[in-house]
C-alpha cells in the first residue's frame, strides 16, 4: 500500500449521499492511483454509480471529501470535474441520437475558430482520429441514432477519451459489447494504464473485472464491503462478498434432453433484413436461447412473434395449430407474451402504481360491464408481488420509485399474470444484480416446466450457456448455429456467430 500512496491520483473519504431519505452512498472511502485499474462491483443499487457521479460533480455529496493529487477539491458540476481531469463513461449512454457522431464526441467542448464560431472540420477530424485510435471506423457525420448499440458504446468511450482526462470512470461499459469488442476496450484500458491514467471499471460481469483489474472494491447497500488486490479474489469470493452469503449455483438445473417431447411452438418466416428463411421450434419443457453478436436479426425475428413486424410469410404454430399474428393484440389472443428489452421506455409505466403496472396486459380479463373488478385485481397483484418477492411498500407506490431490479420484476410479472403459452424474453436480466438474476433464471425454468414455450434472447454468453437447453445462433440474418446440451459452449457459440452457413437453407435445422 505504501508505494500506492505516493502515486495516488484521487481519493474519496467518507462520502455520503442521500436521496429523499434513501442512503445511496453511506460513508465510502475510495481511491485510485496512476496507472491503476480499480474494479468496482456490487449488486444493483449498491451505490456504485452514485459514488462515481459524486466524484464527477454531478451529485454533490452530503458529507465527505474528494482529493485530487492530495489536494481537496469541490466540484460545482461536471464541467468543473472535467477541467480537473475526471472523465466518466456513463452507464446509461449519454449520447444524443439525433446528433452526429462527431458532435456527440466533442459535445460541451466544441472546437472553435479564433472568431468564436464552431469549427466543424476540426470537429470531424478530431473525432475521426479518436475513433480510429480505438479501432472503430465510422463516418463522423453519421447520426448516433442510426448506429448499433455496440458502436454507440464506442462513441461514448471516444467522447471521454477526447477530453484527455487523468482519471476515467467506466460505468458498465461492456454490457452491450461482444467479446471482441470487450477485448478492444481492454486494450484501450491497458494503453491508458501505460500512460499513467487512473481507471475505475464498474461491471456486473465479474470475470471481466477479475481479468483486467488491479484492485477491486465491493460495495453493498451504500457501503464498502472490501477493497483488495484482484489476485486475492475468485469469482465465488466476489459473489459471496457482494450478496453477503455463499452462492452455490446461479443457474438452476437444466432439463434432461427429451427428443420426443411434443412441440409447443414453431416458427417459419422470411426475415426482412436478410431476405432469408428462418425456422425453429420449441419443445415442451425446453428453454430456447438466441445468441450471436448483437444486431444479427435476433430482435426482428423475435419481435415478429409478437406481431411487431420484421418477417414476411410468417407462419406460427402453437401446439400444431396455425395462428395469424399481425399485432400484439393478435399475439396476446393466442397467448404470446413479450418482455421488451428497454425496460424504461417499453416496459414500465413509471408514473403509475405497482398495481396498475402489473395489471396492464390483463385488465380486460377482470371486467364486468366495462368496469374493473377491483378486489380480484388487488389479490391477483398481491399474489404476483409475493411470488416474485417484489419489494414494495404498497401496491399504490409509483413504479418509478422502485429499484431497477424490482422494475424488471414488474415487467416480467405483468406477463406472468397473463399466463402465456409462449413467452419471449429480450435481455431479461439487463442491469439486474446477481441475486435477482438467480430468481429470474429459476422463474424461466419453472415456466418451461409448466409447459410454457420460453424463448430468451441475451447478449450474456454465460446466461445463454447456463439457462438454455438449446441455443440458436444468428449471423447476418441467418441461423448459423443450433447447439444443444453439452454442445453449448463459448467456443461453439463464437464459432457459429461468425459462420456464414445458413442452416435453414442447408436443411440442417427445423
Amino acid at each position: 500500500m505504501a508505494d500506492h500512496s505516493s502515486s495516488i491520483l484521487m481519493e474519496m473519504q467518507g462520502i455520503v449521499k442521500t436521496f429523499h431519505g434513501t442512503r445511496a452512498v453511506d460513508g465510502v472511502d475510495f481511491s485510485c492511483s496512476r496507472g491503476e485499474i480499480h474494479g468496482l462491483v456490487g449488486e444493483n443499487g449498491a451505490g456504485k454509480s452514485t459514488l462515481m457521479k459524486v466524484l464527477a460533480g454531478i451529485h454533490s455529496a452530503d458529507a465527505g471529501k474528494i482529493f485530487l493529487h492530495g489536494i481537496e477539491r469541490r466540484f460545482g458540476g461536471y464541467s468543473d470535474a472535467r477541467k480537473a481531469g475526471i472523465g466518466i463513461v456513463y452507464q446509461e449512454l449519454s449520447l444524443l441520437p439525433e446528433l452526429t457522431v462527431a458532435e456527440n464526441i466533442v459535445m460541451g467542448a466544441w472546437p472553435r475558430n479564433p472568431g468564436g464560431l464552431l469549427n466543424w472540420d476540426k470537429t470531424r477530424t478530431l473525432s475521426g482520429t479518436i475513433l480510429r485510435g480505438i479501432g472503430v471506423e465510422i463516418d463522423p457525420d453519421t447520426l448516433v441514432g442510426s448506429l448499433p448499440m455496440a458502436l454507440r458504446q464506442m462513441v461514448e468511450i471516444s467522447k471521454v477519451l477526447s477530453k484527455e482526462s487523468e482519471l476515467i470512470v467506466f460505468d458498465e461499459p461492456t454490457a452491450p459489447l461482444s467479446r471482441d469488442e470487450v477485448s478492444i476496450l481492454f486494450n484501450i484500458f491497458r494503453d491508458l494504464k501505460r500512460r499513467g491514467k487512473g481507471i475505475v471499471f464498474i461491471s456486473h460481469r465479474l470475470d471481466e473485472v477479475l481479468a483486467i483489474s488491479d484492485r477491486i472494491t465491493v460495495m453493498k447497500d451504500g457501503r464498502t464491503v472490501v477493497t483488495d488486490s484482484a489476485a486475492s479474489f475468485s469469482e465465488e469470493k466476489l459473489i459471496a462478498s457482494m450478496v453477503g452469503r455463499e452462492f452455490s449455483e446461479i443457474f438452476p438445473a437444466k432439463k434432461g434432453s427429451s427428443k420426443d417431447a411434443p412441440v409447443l411452438f414453431s416458427f417459419d418466416g422470411i426475415l426482412h433484413m436478410s431476405n432469408k428463411r428462418v425456422a425453429f421450434s420449441v419443445q415442451e419443457g425446453e428453454v430456447l436461447g438466441f445468441g450471436g453478436l448483437q444486431g444479427q436479426g435476433q430482435i426482428e425475428l423475435l419481435q415478429s412473434i409478437f406481431g411487431l413486424g420484421g418477417c414476411e410469410s410468417l407462419s406460427l404454430q402453437i401446439l400444431g395449430t396455425r395462428v395469424a399474428v399481425k399485432n400484439p393484440i393478435h399475439a396476446m389472443r393466442h397467448g404470446i407474451a413479450l418482455v421488451p428489452e428497454n425496460r424504461n421506455e417499453e416496459g414500465v409505466f413509471p408514473i403509475l402504481s405497482v398495481l396498475e403496472n402489473l395489471s396492464a396486459p390483463t385488465v380486460d380479463h377482470r371486467k364486468r360491464l366495462g368496469f374493473i373488478r377491483r378486489l380480484e385485481e388487488h389479490s391477483v397483484v398481491r399474489d404476483m408481488v409475493d411470488r416474485l418477492s417484489i419489494r414494495i411498500s404498497s401496491q399504490r407506490q409509483q413504479a418509478q420509485s422502485l429499484s431497477g431490479g424490482n422494475m424488471q420484476k414488474l415487467v416480467i410479472g405483468k406477463w406472468l399474470i397473463f399466463d402465456p403459452h409462449v413467452i419471449v424474453l429480450l435481455e431479461p436480466t439487463k442491469g439486474v444484480d446477481v441475486a435477482t438474476k438467480q430468481q429470474i433464471y429459476r422463474l424461466i425454468r419453472e415456466l418451461a416446466e409448466r409447459g410454457v414455450a420460453v424463448i430468451v434472447n441475451t447478449s450474456d454468453m454465460l446466461e445463454l450457456i447456463g439457462v438454455c437447453d438449446r441455443v440458436l445462433v444468428m449471423n447476418r440474418g441467418m441461423l448459423t448455429g443450433c447447439l444443444e446440451g453439452s454442445a453449448i459452449t463459448e467456443e461453439s457459440i463464437m464459432k457459429a456467430s461468425v459462420s456464414d452457413r445458413d442452416l435453414v437453407n442447408a436443411g440442417e435445422c427445423v
Binding site: L352, A360, S393, Q397
Partner: protein
Amino acid sequence: MEKAKTLAPRHELADMLSRNAIFFLLFLLVVAMFVLGEIVAHGFLSLSHIGAILRTASFLGIVAIGQTLVVLSGGIDLSVGPIITMGNVFICMFMNGLDANNVWSLSAIILLGLAFGSINGLGVTYLRISPLVMTLAVGSLVTGLTLIFSQGAPKGLASPLLREIGVGNLFNLIPAIVVTWAVLSALVIALLGRSVYGRKLYYAGANLKAAALSGIRVRLVKIIAYALGGACAVLSGTLMAGYTRDAFLGIGNEYTMWSIAAVVIGGTSLTGGKGGYVGTIAGAIILVLLESLLTVMNMPEAGRRIANGLIILIMISIYFRKRNRG
C-alpha cells in the same frame, strides 16, 4: 413480505392523505374566495349567487371533462372553443325552438361532436401530428364550417326543454344545469377511476409504447378520448344555447384556454397519465369564482388577465413544490 404487509396500512393512509391533500387545498381556496367575495360585496355568498356561479362553472366543467380526458391521454385539445360554438349554433338551427326536434337534434349534435373529436384523434394517432397543431387546424376547419352553415348569422332557437335545462332550477334552488353537470361528473369520475377504459387511458398517457406492448389499442383509446372531448364541447355549447336561447358566434372562444387552465389548476399533468376529474371540478369553480370576484371588485380587464395568470402560477408552484419535495 411479512414486513411489507404489516407496514402497508399505515403507508396507505399516509399515501391517501398526501394524495388528497391537494383537494383539501383546492377546497380551502374555493371557500376563501367565497368569503373574500362576501366581504367585498354582501350577497356574494347568497344561495342564488352560488347557484349562478355553479351554473357558469357547469359550462366550463363540462367542456373540461373532455379536456381532462384528452390531457390524461397525453394530448391537448385546442379545438374545444370552435366546437362549442359549432354545437351552440347547430343545436339552435336543428331545434328551431320546437320540443318536437329535441331527440334527433341532440343525437345529431352529439354525433357531430364525436365526429370532429374523432378527426382530432385520427390526426393525432394515424397521421402522427402533434395534438397542439392538429387540434388547432381542426379548430379552424370547424370555425369555417360553422360560418358557412350559418352564413355568419346563427338561425333558430333553443327548444323550451333545453331552455328549461339552461335557466331553470330544480326545487327552485339548484340550477338544472348544475344537476346535469353533477351527473356527468359522477359518470366521468367512475369512468376514470373504475372502468377498464379509464385505466387504459392512464396507460396510454403514462407510457404509450409500454401500453402498446401490453396489448392496449392505444390509438383507439386516444381517439375515444378526443371523440368524447368533442362530444363534451358540443354538449356544453348546447347547454349554453339553453342559457342564452339564441346562438352566438364566438361563444366558445375563451373556453379553449379556460378549459386547459381548469385542468391544470386541478392538478392534472399536461404530460399525461396523471391526475383526474375531481381536481378539474375545483379548477373550473375557482376560475369562474375568480372571474365573478373580479367583476364585483370592479377590476379592469388588465387586472383580470393578471389575476388569471397569477392563480395558475401559484397553483403550479404549489404542485411542483410538493413534487420536488417528494
